[in-house]
């Protein structure tokens, strides 16, 4: 595929018998073998399975007519279950865990004719904003290899940026799709909570986790999201919402009101991010948008609310890693009493990394007797207020725009020692997560000084209005050329 060709255009050529799915796949594996040693976008590859499937598509493309992703290679974040293929979630505790089933999204991808090529690097259990917290080593940003690709879905973002895969899936709990998309200069979208089934997604914070797409073009992210959306009885929170009414011809209606929360953009935002964000409003205006002021919840309250709820849910969800039914079990030590409780603690202590333990401790504290009301319950109430404030903002705006990340990609390792500083990377993304809203990040520029690092524009919509968000993003993409830039050497 040429650098500028969209994935859906490639799909059309594969279906017409003008391009070979297997040849596309082989070319990607050649590139991955040559370059992923530097990037570490992939935790594992599924080369044989992918080539066999691509060859099956090539043998009779007519069987896949109407399949939205026919022959298109897709990389999956390694917290999405693939039957029989080790899925680690970036954790030692699952280093040899081969799930007994496919995630719902994997079934949907295969039904849509996609070819799953491998599993991508993430922060352990998706807890992080940099991939520094992967137990198997971080991924690197293709634009500057000493920098983070963002996190936690950093491997998926890096894989798309490095042209290792035209499409990828990640999961977003507090920004884990949008932030790495911004830092890697690609498109990434978190859908409305309930749009995509979480069946087979390893749970971090169940009331926030959503799977979503990465791509270079808005239209490709949309096609991927449409393919994985829909009700699945195996996830009681997946909703039977009407499908996303969007085609590649859908653009933003003139007069669309785009709200900007000015009050929150004055402090703590990198100068180049501010400049790129301001400049991004102009093409939106030219495309027919009306820019209005919006009031949104305070970002620091949103961060605190998010981290209390997410860690409380995580401390409960991660109780399943006890060395009994699956995953690693620690062996007995000479001084052990040899009892069950000792095995649990030893397994968890050996199996989890520093950040996961920190979050389990924080969540356990927030849920423990004497602190539950002050922390967890209060956070749930503030969450209700945050949703109300978004609802109010949407009374005078159709879309809300802000930077995706307050800074461009920071250096790997730079924030490990200061967990709070790492948490602040999510300051502009956690709001939409808490309120369950759809949000997209699209490339909107680069830093002025070298190294040339991508910057992302975030567009947030009303619940279930993915179509409106995608239309605004499509209009922005058509008016700009940022998406055409590629990192050197890939």
């Amino acid at each position: 595929m040429s650098a500028a060709e969209s994935a859906i255009a490639l799909r059309d050529r594969i279906l017409a018998g003008e391009a070979s799915a297997a040849a596309v796949c082989r070319a990607l594996f050649t590139s991955i073998q040559a370059h992923d040693g530097r990037v570490h976008a992939f935790q594992s590859l599924m080369e044989d399975r992918a080539i066999a499937r691509a060859e099956a598509i090539d043998r009779d493309p007519s069987r896949f007519r109407g399949a939205a992703l026919a022959g298109l290679p897709v990389a999956l974040k390694d917290n999405i279950a693939t039957r029989g293929h080790v899925t680690t979630a970036g954790s030692r505790v699952l280093e040899s865990f081969a799930p007994p089933y496919d995630a719902h999204v994997v079934e949907q991808l295969e039904a849509a004719g996609a070819v799953v090529i491998g599993k991508t690097t993430l922060d352990e259990f998706a807890m992080g904003s940099s991939t520094d917290h992967s137990a198997f080593g971080p991924a690197h940003n293709p634009w500057a290899l000493d920098r983070t690709p963002g996190g936690s879905s950093g491997g998926s973002a890096a894989a798309v940026a490095a042209r290792f895969a035209p499409l990828a899936l990640g999961s977003d709990t507090g920004g884990s799709i949008r932030q790495p998309a911004a830092l890697c200069g690609v498109v990434g979208m978190k859908p409305t909570y309930g749009r995509v089934s979480r069946f087979g997604l390893f749970a971090f914070a169940s009331s926030l986790d959503q799977i979503g797409p990465f791509a270079r073009r808005v239209r490709d992210a949309a096609a991927l999201l449409q393919a994985i959306s829909g009700r699945d009885p195996r996830d009681a929170t997946s909703a039977g919402a009407p499908p996303i009414a969007w085609t590649p011809d859908t653009t933003m209606p003139r007069g669309t009101r785009i709200g900007v929360p000015r009050a929150h953009l004055r402090e703590g935002v990198h100068d180049d991010v501010s400049a790129a964000f301001e400049a991004a409003l102009e093409p939106l205006r030219k495309a027919g948008a009306v820019i209005v002021d919006s009031e949104l919840p305070s970002p620091s309250a949103a961060i605190a609310t998010y981290y209390l709820i997410a860690t409380a849910e995580a401390s409960s969800n991660l109780a399943r890693y006890d060395g009994v039914r699956f995953g690693r079990r620690a062996g007995p030590q000479p001084a052990d009493t040899g009892a069950l409780d000792t095995m649990y603690a030893r397994t968890r202590t050996e199996g989890f990394g520093q950040e996961v333990k920190r979050r389990i401790m924080l969540g356990t504290y927030a849920l423990s007797a004497g602190y539950y009301d002050a922390y967890y319950l209060q956070a749930l109430k503030v969450r209700a207020l945050i949703r109300r404030e978004f609802d109010r903002a949407f009374a005078s705006a159709d879309i809300i725009a802000m930077p995706t990340s307050p800074t461009p990609a920071f250096e790997l390792g730079a924030r490990i020692a200061d967990p709070l500083e790492m948490y602040l990377a999510d300051v502009f993304t956690v709001g939409a997560s808490l309120a369950g809203l759809p949000g997209i990040s699209v490339p909107c520029g680069f830093t002025a000084a070298p190294p040339r690092l991508p910057i992302g524009l975030q567009l947030i919509g009303k619940p279930w209005d993915e179509a409106g968000v995608l239309a605004a993003a499509e209009s922005y993409e058509r008016a700009t050329a940022w998406w055409q830039d590629a990192p050197a050497g890939f």
Binding site: S207, Y307, D341, A384
Partner: protein, 99 residues
């Protein structure tokens, strides 16, 4: 007021979370928790009087008929177990009772 987290308090939390920590790790955990909770104190100042807590943004879960559905096959269920007696259909664990 953000809480003061002592080593004993950190030890209580670690025990609840089933994590083993040496004294120096407990001290570090206490310091980190205190600093993070200090920052999170911002939500204590939010007036939430009369606000219902929102545990989820999902609507009420759809109901289904209470009918048996197929579940994981026994061989798949035990395939990833660290220690299992597949024939007997059991996960094996260390002694539960007694010291």
């Amino acid at each position: 007021m953000p809480p003061r987290i002592t080593r004993d308090e950190a030890a209580r939390i670690a025990a609840l979370a089933k994590l083993d920590m040496a004294d120096h790790e407990l001290d570090r955990a206490a310091r980190e928790l205190e600093s993070i909770l200090g920052y999170f104190d911002v939500i204590a100042r939010v007036d939430t009087t009369g606000t219902e807590p929102a545990a989820t943004m999902a609507g009420p879960p759809p109901l289904r008929a209470d009918a048996p559905l197929p579940s994981l096959a026994p061989a798949d269920t035990f395939a990833n177990a660290p220690d299992a007696d597949t024939a007997a259909g059991l996960f094996r664990v260390p002694r539960v009772l007694g010291s």
